[in-house]
Subunit: 424 residues, 2 copies
């Protein structure tokens, strides 16, 4: 049995995402006892969620059990629980399985969907931030086609085959492209008795162009590639409401659609116990240049939920996996130095680039001044994502799936099982 070494200061990490796991893996466990907690027992590789939703990958190959990731770490403990409150005065975390004291707290809770206060849209739309969301969406898409086959109500059939994706960022663009390929290559074979031309994929973006955070050239390529796949793109368009299967916008434009997928905004996953003064834009927690909560000496915040304001990034660093990973590495080093009585330099973000894939042989990659499009960008995108996946088995299985899809456009991952929930 692994008996906790109780004379070491205890670092509690909330969240087993990119940043939380980096800290847990790189921290010196001769100097610290580590407890990492999460509401799920697995780490999710979020960048590939859209492929699970569009029947391209099985869920198990983009998720990895936290316990397995950390199995060779000494003095490291995982607990599956929900955090209810942070008691900063007592250095205690209140959770649904009891209280947990900490010497150092690392908040890495990530980001969730931002519906900008619209409860109706929140209730009626499908999000795509978790593995469970992606699985529910997969079942919903396939279930819609089964129902479309059986209805004689043409209006209902139109609605079932009309998909609206709100948000033209990487998630929306990648999902739109994947759904279009699913329609053209897979569903047309699966549903020979349906007229698949009736399936519409609408991508709605409030900005004047898709991939608004990337260079104009990348937006153009993405736009063109999506058009080639018969995706309908609506820029400068705001979704105002979604009720009774009708999507309304700021103009006369409406959509009769049974499925609305929300990829329009994210916000930090805030915790109770963080004071109002420490909360900034986008529901994120304001930290200093050492990723430390300004009002505390022993609380650090990393990844999507952390807000470091700087001249270069007045709205905080982008919510990217690479930011989270760099901050995780940084904090592990800072804590290791601190244990030796040494101080660390402030965190500096090195922008590694940004990329999105639209479909077969089509992607856009921006690395520094280098801007790549087309088949080469697609190959880079695939290589980078394969390498970032946790676990060699997962890489092999994902690679086989991709190769399979490339050769014959068709795999077999189309089970309808829903709803999925996390519930123990």
């Amino acid at each position: 049995m692994n008996i906790p070494q109780i004379d070491l200061p205890r670092v509690v990490i909330i969240g087993a995402g990119f940043s939380g796991l980096k800290v847990a893996k790189l921290i010196n466990t001769h100097r610290y006892q580590v407890v990492i907690i999460d509401k799920r027992n697995y780490h999710t590789f979020q960048p590939l969620l859209y492929q699970v939703a569009s029947t391209g990958l099985e869920p198990d190959s983009i998720a990895y059990p936290v316990r397995k990731i950390l199995k060779s770490q000494k003095n490291t403990f995982f607990r599956l629980c929900n955090v209810e409150n942070i008691d900063k005065d007592k250095n205690i975390l209140n959770t649904d399985i009891g209280d947990l004291s900490y010497d150092i707290l690392v908040i890495a809770t990530g980001a969730g969907n931002n519906f900008f206060g619209n409860d109706v849209i929140e209730k009626n739309s499908l999000p795509m931030k978790s593995l469970i969301d992606a699985l529910n969406l997969r079942s919903k898409i396939l279930g819609n086609f089964e129902e479309a086959l059986n209805t004689k109500d043409l209006n209902r059939r139109e609605s079932l085959m009309n998909f609206v994706i709100v948000g033209g960022g990487p998630t929306g663009v990648e999902l739109a492209g994947a759904l279009a390929e699913l329609r053209n290559k897979v569903l047309a074979k699966d549903y020979p008795d349906l007229d698949l031309r009736q399936m519409k994929i609408n991508l709605i973006e409030s900005a004047p162009r898709v991939l608004a955070n990337m260079a104009e050239k990348s937006s153009e390529v993405a736009y063109k590639s999506l058009k080639e796949l018969d995706v309908l793109i609506w820029t400068n368009t705001f979704v105002k409401n979604y009720e009774n299967n009708v999507v309304s916008t700021q103009t006369d434009l409406t959509f009769n659609a049974d499925t609305l997928i929300w990829a329009a905004g994210v916000k930090g996953n805030m915790l109770k116990g963080i004071s109002n003064e420490d909360q900034g834009k986008g529901n994120r927690i304001i930290v200093d240049e050492f990723c430390k909560l300004k009002s505390s000496d022993n609380i650090y915040v990393l990844g999507d939920v952390a807000l470091i304001e700087s001249d270069l990034y007045p709205n905080g660093l982008p919510m990217l996996g690479s930011v989270a990973m760099q901050q995780g590495v940084y904090l592990a080093n800072l804590l290791n130095q601190k244990a030796k009585g040494k101080k660390s330099k402030p965190f500096v973000y090195k922008h590694k680039g940004i990329m999105a894939t639209i479909g077969r042989n089509a992607a856009v990659v921006e690395m520094g001044n280098l801007k790549i499009q087309g088949a080469l960008a697609w190959a880079i995108w695939m290589f980078v994502h394969l390498m970032l996946l946790v676990g060699f088995r997962n890489r092999v299985v994902v690679f086989i799936n991709w190769l399979w899809k490339y050769v014959n456009f068709n795999n077999s991952l189309r089970l309808i099982i829903r709803p999925y929930k996390t519930l123990i």
Copy 2:
């Protein structure tokens, strides 16, 4: 678009299991229009469900979408629905998506759990007949360990770590072996702060030996292999009740267990509209030697739900995949002959053998007079199951998983997501 050819007689097949799919694939679609219906959109390879439950395989690799299996079949249609009633007089099937007329009906609904009328056990136990059951069981096992870590109530911890499997047939034996390997090789690493010796796996069998349908030598080998894996075996034991986490038996023996897995009995999935006279032992439908319902000229019954009484098999043929497949091939031929005005000979079952695996390098195989045990039996078991899987991609992924497990005893398929349901 695939326009139904309406001048052909329509064969409706209920169930996309082994027998239903064989008929759909082998029937002459120049002579018949085929409609196959199922309450799920996928075919489940039931013999490997226990590996999904014990975290050995991902669900997607042992299930295959029905539409994909049948995509190159002409005049063949799939509908996802539940059958509510058979109206034999009108030759109409009432389903939850409307009525469907048939010229020939094939009932291949398979078998479900038989709790022998004990509603309390049915309510409190976990079955293992569907993919959803297997996924729920996987989450339950892992969730129990997370909870066991956090409870200070030693009685509760014992209960969480105590697993009772009722039924010492192939399903029970294979699951017991897989759980024991999970404990010894995987959970011990995942939960270093739990004393895994406290995890108990109890296999309860009412007969005097496990694998009672196989030869005594096979039972002995299975018994010995399970003992080596520290499975507790209770033969000659009947489970009488399971309430408040206490399993009671016909003697003083009780178990304090949070999890009871029911693998003790199956019964045919009966349909409304089948008269009492047509129902036989084990909730199965009595058919003649042509697999035809005695009271009808155009209704056939195949697989687990069909009861052909013979001198050699007074209780009907065993509920095995190989019986179902042979009957499916037989009926497709019979119908193809019938379309030409020819008659067929009665169905004759050729026993291909029976096998079960207990764990690494341990299995028992009986083929005719040949009885094999140990590593060779294990290799045969693996080869046969790989070849029976639908889809080359699935074979590759399953093979990688097995190879992986053989080399390092550990994969990464341990997501807790539940409950799973089929719901569109």
